[in-house]
Structures are given as C-alpha cells and as structure tokens.
C-alpha cells in the first residue's frame, strides 16, 4: 500500500513538473509534429500516401521515446543539480521505487506526442483515423508507454554513476528509433541488428500499436512488450540497488 502511495505521489508530482517545462513541450509535442510532417512529405513524395497513419503512429512513438529518454536521462542529473538526489537515496523506500514513478511520468507525458501527431495528421494531411482493432489499440498504447517508462528506469539507474548522462541521452535517441523500426521496417537494417531490435520494448510496442491500428496480430507483440517491460522493472530495481551501493561506497552520489 505504501509503495502504491509512493508511486502515485511521485507520478503526480513529476507530471506537474513536466507540465510546466517548455522544453518538455518541445520534446513531447513540437518535435514529434515536425518529424511527423517530414515523414508525411517523404511518404507522399514516394507515392506512399496510404501509409500516412503508419507515419503518424511512428512519429508519435518517436516522441514517446524522446520524452522517456531525455526525461529519464535528465532525471538523475536534474536531481543532482538541484541537490535532491541524496534525499531520494536516503528516503526509506528503495531508490528504484522512488524513481519508478518519475520514469513512468516521463513516458506517459510522451503520450502527448502520439495524440499530437494523430491530430496533426488528421487535420492537415487528412490521415484517416480508422483503427482495425480499437480496443486492442487502447490496450497496446498504455502497455507500450509503461514498458518504455520501465526501460527508462533501467537507463536512469546507469546514470547514477555516469557524470555525462545528458550526452548519452543525445546519442541514444536515433539508434532506438532505428533499431525499433518505429517509422520504417527493420528489414532495411543489416541482419546482425535483428537481435538488438528483439530485446527493445519499443520494437514490440510499435508492432502491437501498428497492428492494432492497421491490422495484424496484436496479442503476440503485446505479450512481448509486457514481458520485456516486466524484465526492465526487475533489471531496473536490481541496477538501482547495485549502482546506489557503489555510489554510496565511493561517496560519488553527487558526482560534484
């Protein structure tokens, strides 16, 4: 019960903080719209107008990942700058539990991205919003976003020891877009990248969402994204425990 209170309180708090950030507005709404527009024009000029919903969903998911990545990457760093990281580490709940709701809030803020690209596509490009399996779409979306949040938790844990988390965040945006096939098929990538795609929750998440919208098997990818999300939860908590121990033992939590 206490854990649920920590999660609910942290989630609400971080959603409020993110809601006041112009930078997050850029990440979660404006950037995905710009990328969606680029994708629409590219698909149109390639004569693939029928795939505009595909582009909308992909660009929206790119926004979810960007919000998760920069939110989770920045989470530890911002707390460090604000001097609140030590308080989080010293709080009675485990550090993983303290930062779990923050990470989830980051990815759920990214849902604005999907909403923005779908509305933008509908209004400006006439993208048809007919979903093949609307109920499964409504199930796939939160499952995927939650899995991304849990993946963000794993990332955040590694940033406890890493002084330059923001730089790593800058690097990881495009590779996950590419390897997850968020907006183009991973079949265009070399074969050796396939296992990387398989272990990424967004790969299965976007498949579930895309199949729910355009038709295809939803349950398989949905099961995979849920499974990988749970794996991230376990790994994230374990890594938080290990890295927190290292940071305490070496007295490097603040890294200043």
């Amino acid at each position: 019960m206490n854990s649920l209170l920590v999660i609910a309180g942290g989630f609400r708090m971080n959603m409020k903080m993110l809601g006041t950030s112009a930078w997050f507005l850029l990440m979660a709404v404006i950037q995905p719209i710009i990328f969606a527009t680029i994708a629409y024009y590219m698909f149109r000029s390639g004569g693939r107008s029928g795939t505009l919903l595909y582009a909308s969903l992909g660009a929206g998911m790119m926004g979810v990942w960007s919000s998760t990545l920069f939110g989770s990457g920045g989470m530890i760093q911002w707390q460090r700058w604000q001097g609140t990281l030590e308080l989080g580490a010293a709080a009675p709940p485990s550090m993983g539990l303290v930062y779990l709701p923050f990470s989830l809030a980051n990815s759920f803020t990214g849902m604005y991205a999907l909403a923005a690209t779908l509305v933008w596509g509908r209004l400006l490009f006439g993208v048809p919003l007919h979903f093949a399996h609307p109920w499964l779409f409504l199930l796939s979306l939160p499952a995927t976003v939650a899995a991304l949040g849990l993946m963000g938790l794993v990332l955040a844990s590694t940033f406890i020891l890493y002084r330059h988390a923001n730089a790593l965040s800058n690097l990881l945006e495009y590779p996950v877009w590419i390897a997850s096939g968020l907006i183009f098929s991973t079949s265009l990538l070399p074969g050796w990248t396939r296992p990387i795609s398989w272990i990424l929750p967004p790969y299965w998440g976007v498949l579930a969402i895309r199949h729910a919208a355009l038709g295809g098997d939803v349950r398989g990818p949905l099961a995979m994204v849920t499974l990988l999300g749970l794996a991230c939860l376990v790994i994230g908590f374990a890594m938080f425990r290990v890295f927190e121990h290292f940071a305490r033992a070496r007295a490097t939590l603040s890294l200043t």
């Binding site: 850029l26 710009i34 994708a39 590219m42 000029s45 390639g46 004569g47 693939r48 265009l188």
Partner: protein, 262 residues
C-alpha cells in the same frame, strides 16, 4: 585594427575555451559525432522505406545540416552562457569592440561545424556508399564552408536573443528542428507548400544544400555560383542582424538593469 584582431582571435578562442570547458570526449563524441551519424542513417533508411529520393540526397542534406548542431547551439551558448556563468556583466563593462567580441566567438564554432559536417560526409562514404567523385570534393568543401558560415551567423542572431530571453535553449532547439523541416534537408523544396519553401529560402542551409547536391551529382562549381552567393548573402544578413540585435539588447539591458536577471 591590431587590437580588434586580438580580441577577435585570442578573445574568441579564450571565450570558447572558457564557456565550453565542460566539453571533453565523453560529451563531445556522443553529442557532436554520434548523434549526426545516427541521424544520417535514420533519414537515409526512412527515405529508402518511403521510396522518396535517392540515397545521396539524404547523405548530402544531413551531412551539411549536421553543422547546425554546432552552429546554432554553439553560438547560442557562446553568448547566453556568459549570463549563466555570471560573466556577462564584466564582459560588457569592458571597452572591447563588440563586433570583435561577437564575431570572434563564431570562429571556433565555425571550425567545429566544419569538422562535424566533414565527419558526417565521411560516414556517408564509409557506411552508406556515398561516392561524389574526387573532382567535386574541393567544390563540396567550399560549399560546406560557406554553409557553416551562414549557419554560424544564424546562430549569432539566436545567441543575441539569449542576452535577454529566459528560455534561450527552447528557441535554439525549435530553430534546429524547424531547419530540418524547412531547409530541404530531407524533403525537396518543390514538395513543400509555397509558404514553407519561401521561409526555407530565407534560412541558412537551404541554398548550400541545393548547391552541394548539384555538385555531388557532377555539376561544376560555376554552375552553382548563384546558390553559393545567395548562401553567402544570407550569412552576411544574419551576421549583421545578430550584431545589431546584440547592441540593441545590450543597451536595453543596461538601461533597464536586467543584464543578469532571469
């Protein structure tokens, strides 16, 4: 003149080293080299998937656009970070020529932009099979230089706004992403609506990228002289606008005592 040059060259170099003292390989490599590398792969593959343009279209567009990360963010930070570090007051209290102070900051940013663009082109050659032909390399190099100058000048204008604006990173980020959309980096200008391509033609990058694509396809430099000249004209216009804005905002900040205020 000697003093002007000294402030321009030595001052610009010292300011860059001071303001960007936090940059070292652990930050520089992922941000300035890693991100453009993956951006190049992303858009090339997206273009392939969309059956839009040929591979070289994306390689040239993104390799040149990669300099914007250095130019736009670098110049914004080169001015706005003075306020962040609390050194803006002493800087503006000095009798140094504002044009030397301002333009000198652009020189290291310019060098960095050229390096990042060149690196991205090399990645295009090594990983994606870009083969522009040896005879077009000098022309491409000149176009890259002009385009990076133009982007740096645009960054100067944005940096000047950072003298007063609270959330200057928002403006820099927004400008960076909009350039991806408006400047024909990944979409031919002819595909964009008229008003978008008109805006694109007033921005840096657009003419440089068009010229570079023609040169990479085998056109001689003389054939794209007009485009290169226009890009240079845009560079001069933005540099002048940035300098004027810098002076105006400096005066206004002094008058209303908000130089270091957030």
């Amino acid at each position: 003149m000697r003093r002007w040059l000294s402030v321009f060259l030595v001052g610009g170099n010292l300011a860059y080293r001071g303001l960007f003292n936090w940059i070292h390989p652990a930050i520089y490599i992922p941000t300035m080299l890693g991100a453009p590398l993956f951006q190049l792969i992303f858009f090339t593959k997206l273009g392939q998937f969309a059956h839009a343009e040929n591979r070289d279209f994306y390689i040239v567009g993104n390799s040149i656009q990669a300099c914007a990360m250095s130019s736009v963010y670098g110049m914004t930070m080169a001015v706005a970070n003075e306020r962040w570090f609390g050194t803006l007051g002493p800087l503006l209290a000095s009798p140094a020529s504002r044009s030397a102070v301002f333009l000198g900051r652009g020189l290291p940013v310019l060098a960095n932009g050229i390096f990042v663009s060149t690196f991205t082109f090399v990645i295009g050659v090594v990983l994606l099979g870009f083969r522009p032909g040896l005879h077009s390399v000098p022309s491409l190099a000149l176009i890259v230089l002009v385009t990076v100058v133009s982007c740096t000048a645009f960054g100067m204008l944005l940096g000047s706004i950072g003298l007063r604006a609270k959330d200057f990173f928002f403006a820099a980020n927004l400008a960076y992403f909009l350039m991806l959309l408006f400047c024909g980096v990944n979409i031919p200008l002819g595909t964009l609506p008229g008003w978008m391509s008109a805006i694109g033609r007033c921005l840096p990058l657009t003419h440089g990228i068009t010229a570079a694509r023609e040169v990479a396809a085998g056109a001689p430099l003389g054939h794209v002289g007009g485009l290169v000249g226009t890009e240079l004209g845009i560079a001069a216009a933005y540099a002048l606008a940035g300098l004027v804005l810098f002076r105006v905002l400096e005066r206004e900040s002094r008058r209303s005592a908000v130089l270091d205020a957030y």
